[in-house]
């Protein structure tokens, strides 16, 4: 299944894009942080969180409900 992925801040800068579609064969239950670090070795040492449908969550329970995955580097608001 194809899912919309969004990259922010330093992650978008390092990966070189702000969004893409990624095809998952078996996404349910996998560790998403590890998945993306494997996909992009250049972010191996970057600290980040994952949001599934805009809620912080590092795994997917039901792939059919997923509309978006976002990779969020450390926050700097305020």
């Amino acid at each position: 299944m194809e899912i919309n992925i969004k990259y922010f801040g330093m992650l978008a800068e390092i990966i070189g894009k702000a969004a893409e579609k990624v095809y998952f064969t078996n996404a349910e239950g996998i560790d998403l942080i590890s998945f993306f670090k494997e996909k992009y070795p250049s972010i191996q040492n970057i600290n980040f969180q994952v949001a599934v449908n805009q809620e912080i969550n590092n795994s997917i329970k039901d792939i059919d409900t997923v509309t978006e995955i976002a990779l969020l580097p450390p926050f700097a608001g305020g």
Binding site: G9, Q54, F75, A76, G78
Partner: protein, 148 residues
């Protein structure tokens, strides 16, 4: 899920002007049940990093998620504290050193609720809202800011 109509856009393009803050204070003069306001203003600091001075911060965000998070934080503050009023504005885009990037304004009948709520909001915003900051130097290089 969220009631989309209740979710406000917290973001302001560029710096938050002192005039906007003054106007916001003035708007509360008609609300005479209020006895106390507290205000927090975040200002972009000209940090020296590797011997170079930060001249501006460029904020970006996962805007939709950030507005949801701001909404949840607002709802939490309204349930925890006895507030008459609450306003939050955060900059997006470029804000020069010395300019205001965050405006949190709480009002209550007595000082404790306004003051406790204001501190609570600022701490929650720093930890929970997906906002990212690029610290820009005069030579156009940059580093990414991370909240402590």
């Amino acid at each position: 899920m969220f009631d989309k109509k209740k979710i406000k856009n917290v973001f302001v393009e560029g710096a938050i002007s002192p005039e906007k803050i003054a106007t916001s204070i003035a708007h509360h003069q008609v609300k005479t049940n209020i006895g106390a306001h507290d205000i927090f203003l975040g200002q972009v600091r000209a940090d020296i990093i590797n011997e170079k001075e930060v001249v501006a911060m460029e904020y970006s965000a996962h805007v939709e998620m950030a507005n949801h998070e701001f909404y949840k934080i607002r709802e939490m503050a309204f349930s925890k504290f006895n507030l008459s009023c609450m306003h939050i504005y955060h900059s997006i885009g470029k804000v020069n050193a010395g300019e205001i990037c965050l405006f949190v304004f709480t009002s209550s009948a007595h000082r404790k609720d306004a003051m406790d709520a204001c501190r609570f909001l600022v701490e929650e915003i720093k930890v929970k809202v997906p906002i990212f900051g690029k610290e820009l130097f005069a030579d156009e290089s940059h580093v990414w800011k991370v909240n402590k």
